[in-house]
Amino acid sequence: MSSLDWTILIFALTSIILYGLYKSRTSKNLDGYFLSNRSMPWYLVLLSIMGTQASAITFLSAPGQAYTDGMRFVQYYFGLPLAMVLLCISFVPIFHKLKVYTAYEYLENRFDTKTRTFTSFLFLLQRGLSTGISVYAPAIILSSLLGWNIYWTNLFMGGLLIIYTVTGGARAVAYTQQLQLVIIFAGMFMAAYMVVHLLPEGIGFVDALKVSGKLGKLNVITTGVNENGFDWTDRYNIWSGIIGGFFLALSYFGTDQSQVGRYLTAKDLTESRLGLLMNGLVKVPMQFLILLIGALVFTFYQFNQAPVFFNQVQVNKVAKSSYGDSLKLMEQQYAQLSEQKKSVLTHWLKDNSEASEQQFKSLHKQSETIRDDFRKVLNKQNVSGDRSDANYIFLRFVVDHLPHGMVGLLIAVIFLASWGSIAAALNSLASCTVVDIHKKFIKKNCTEKQDYSTSRWYTFAWGIFSIIVAMFATNMGSLIEAVNVLGSLFYGVILGVFLVAFYLKNIKGDAVFASAVIVEIGIIILFWKSSIGFLWLNLVGALGVIVLAWLIQLIIGQKVKRAN
């Protein structure tokens, strides 16, 4: 990195910390610290919701996902707008009416303490771990590409934001997210412009789309149906996106405190609803554009020599082993094919002939085979570290091909996106620990000042926990998938509990608690023993809890009748 890059990076990060501290003035009680005195307008709620969901992983992994698997990942978000509508109809009015701090408080009103504590525990478990991954994901990529020490990078990634998150609570989180998103969108827009700008002369945006489209990267809509019928193991298709994605989004926005805590900061129900509905309108197009950058980067690398495997640190590790020579040979073959591809592609775009197109596709297939073989050789060696290169593609492009200044700006984007989601997660983890655990089981009667002080200490403690998890996280493949898989293991069950609470008034606490525990164990076994697409786990978990709770309640009801 040049001195200009360092200046931009340090300036952006320092500005955010100072801005966060400046906006830290809030009432020294739980309402002020966790819910910003319920005073936020809808646009701040919207930016906070978006900033919480869009972590660094979104901006690093999503373009890489489009590069390797095409744009079909966008279908994962199709259920989100539908979930926003249902949330506005059912969940949000109840949370506002009861003036809860956490979503799980409502479950005690509706069921009992054990159900509230169990769901809160599931949330703390999955959110605590996934926040650790959110620290690790950008840190490992930055450390690999720039040669930074991973432990220090983890510490900076997860540590600096603690300064304003501990000091300013939800208010500082919301205001910094606003500024962070402005910088993030500016950075991503400039990156998209640069990809097209760096294409050879005479090759424009539409040509770039044509190339990536012909090679299957613009597969935005897929049905998941193959010659054997519907493929349940296919992760991203329109049906898993609409149905599985709907349940995942409903669970994430309706029952995950990191999101519930954002829209509870709104000054009234209208502002919460508007923030959520706007999110339903902008999220899918936003994700489409981020993936499109990945598809454009793919085209860029059809005209320029791409690394066979983008995670060079892993390549270097295996290159020292007995497989070193075969890796070198494959790299040479890949480079030769790349030269041929470039020449054929230029020819094809000029003459537009079927023969050139087929020749290019054939060469591309050969180079993909080499990439697969290369990956297999890397995996044969049991070396530690990240074995996927999807997360490295976008940043590798940035570091290798963008001009000075842009590199610093885009690394700042990674830090800021990461901070936005981690800060909200720490705030929500602390609010659940204080409201659902500490004040419930450890110290019930505290003064406002004690509550405030305890909340700050828990925020700090969760920050340290996340950094510790990040230090141990490794070998998880695509990190955007890892976070979503982790969420899907728990979200379905939590959602099932809330759906029973809202819509099945005859089912009581004992039945829903027993079913939640049984189904959660079942979901973990199902994930472990089968290859079902993870989005379906949300549907199975939610429906499982509903059906089992209904059956258990039926049995309990019959027993009571017999006893009477």
Partner: protein
Amino acid sequence: MNNNPEKIPVFKSWTHWYVLVIAFLIILILLFNSFTGFFA
């Protein structure tokens, strides 16, 4: 009794907002489908 009824921005009821969000999603899916077909 609530003397300060919820003021809904732009539309007369929230249902109109919900229809807008769902209709926008349908339009996006149709556009994406055309996009996929066009460049495939």
